[in-house]
Symmetry: C2
């Protein structure tokens, strides 16, 4: 990211992001990279059938634990068609939510750092899953998403021809996009 | 999955999953694999800064579109430490939510199919991210999760030594686990 002239100088804000703080953060991390090591956490409790609840309470960063101001509770369930009771989005819909939110936030923060004012950002996502995988019917069919497509509509203070470049800021910097497209090692252990 | 004797014969339910319906679904898919092709969808709207909202409304499966009984709205935001206003979990926390929910549901459904009664299933997840990646400070540091760890506590109607086998049903069949560990192609397009 390169510092550029901030439009809203009074608040040093661009796209709702405090750009002074963003550049201060970058400077601090350059001096002491250890503060950039974060750990994010979730707790899940099974309720019944396809219904379970995830609690998001705290995380680690800048060398210490932090508690969120609010504790977030997220219910997941399957729709009746997939033998659930529809008490929440299902897990693969939460995956699309993570991806949509992250690509958007990454676009917004990096546009702010470049001094590009966004007026609106909307996206729609669609992903293909063949349930033969999950149901254990065919070993040749993968259990996860085969492909995910993201379609953005962006209104921003740049010439039309720069919109293509702008939209790529999201996937270029997004931690969830990187995680999902490149894969992450995940270990599963039983705690006694 | 192999059919086994159902314990709760009155409702044909195990772990809150209607096992008759589950086996009927498997039989139907074996006869007409096309019905197993699903498309899941999400719409996202940027609000301000790190705050955006995902709407989950409909999906495609069994050769037609379905509307969820309720429309789900999921707010994502960054905590103040990451220059947000804390109005929701952040995107990488949503990714852990998707993973926790999916591994749990997969375990529950496949245990039900095997006739194994679960009493309780809890998990905690932790994932490591080095923000030097997102901030564009170092190209050698990946932007996404470097590793995710899941710790399960399970109480089930099986001998202690079979718990290790049981816990592996989750990651073995989970679509989100498969997506995150093996990676998914994601395309990003601008819509005019």
């Amino acid at each position: 990211m390169k510092a550029q002239k901030i439009i809203n100088e009074k608040q040093n804000e661009m796209n709702g992001v405090n750009v002074d703080e963003l550049f201060n953060t970058i400077d601090s991390v350059k001096k002491a990279p250890v503060i950039a090591k974060f750990k994010f956490r979730a707790n899940n409790q099974w309720i019944d059938g396809g219904h379970n609840r995830t609690t998001i309470r705290d995380f680690y960063g800048i060398q210490k634990d932090h508690r969120h101001e609010a504790t977030f509770k997220l219910d997941a369930d399957e729709p009746p068609l997939l033998l659930g009771t529809g008490k929440g989005p299902n897990p693969v819909e939460y995956l699309l939510t993570a991806l949509a939110a992250c690509v958007t936030t990454s676009l917004v923060y990096h546009a702010a750092a470049k001094g590009i004012m966004l007026k609106s950002v909307e996206s729609r996502l669609e992903g293909d899953i063949d349930l033969q995988g999950f149901l254990g019917i065919s070993k040749d069919v993968r259990k996860g998403y085969q492909e995910i497509r993201i379609y953005f509509k962006i209104d921003a203070d740049v010439p039309e021809e720069q919109l293509e470049e702008l939209v790529q800021l999201g996937p270029t910097y997004s931690p969830v996009f990187d995680s999902i497209t490149k894969g992450v090692p995940v270990s599963v252990q039983l705690e006694k």
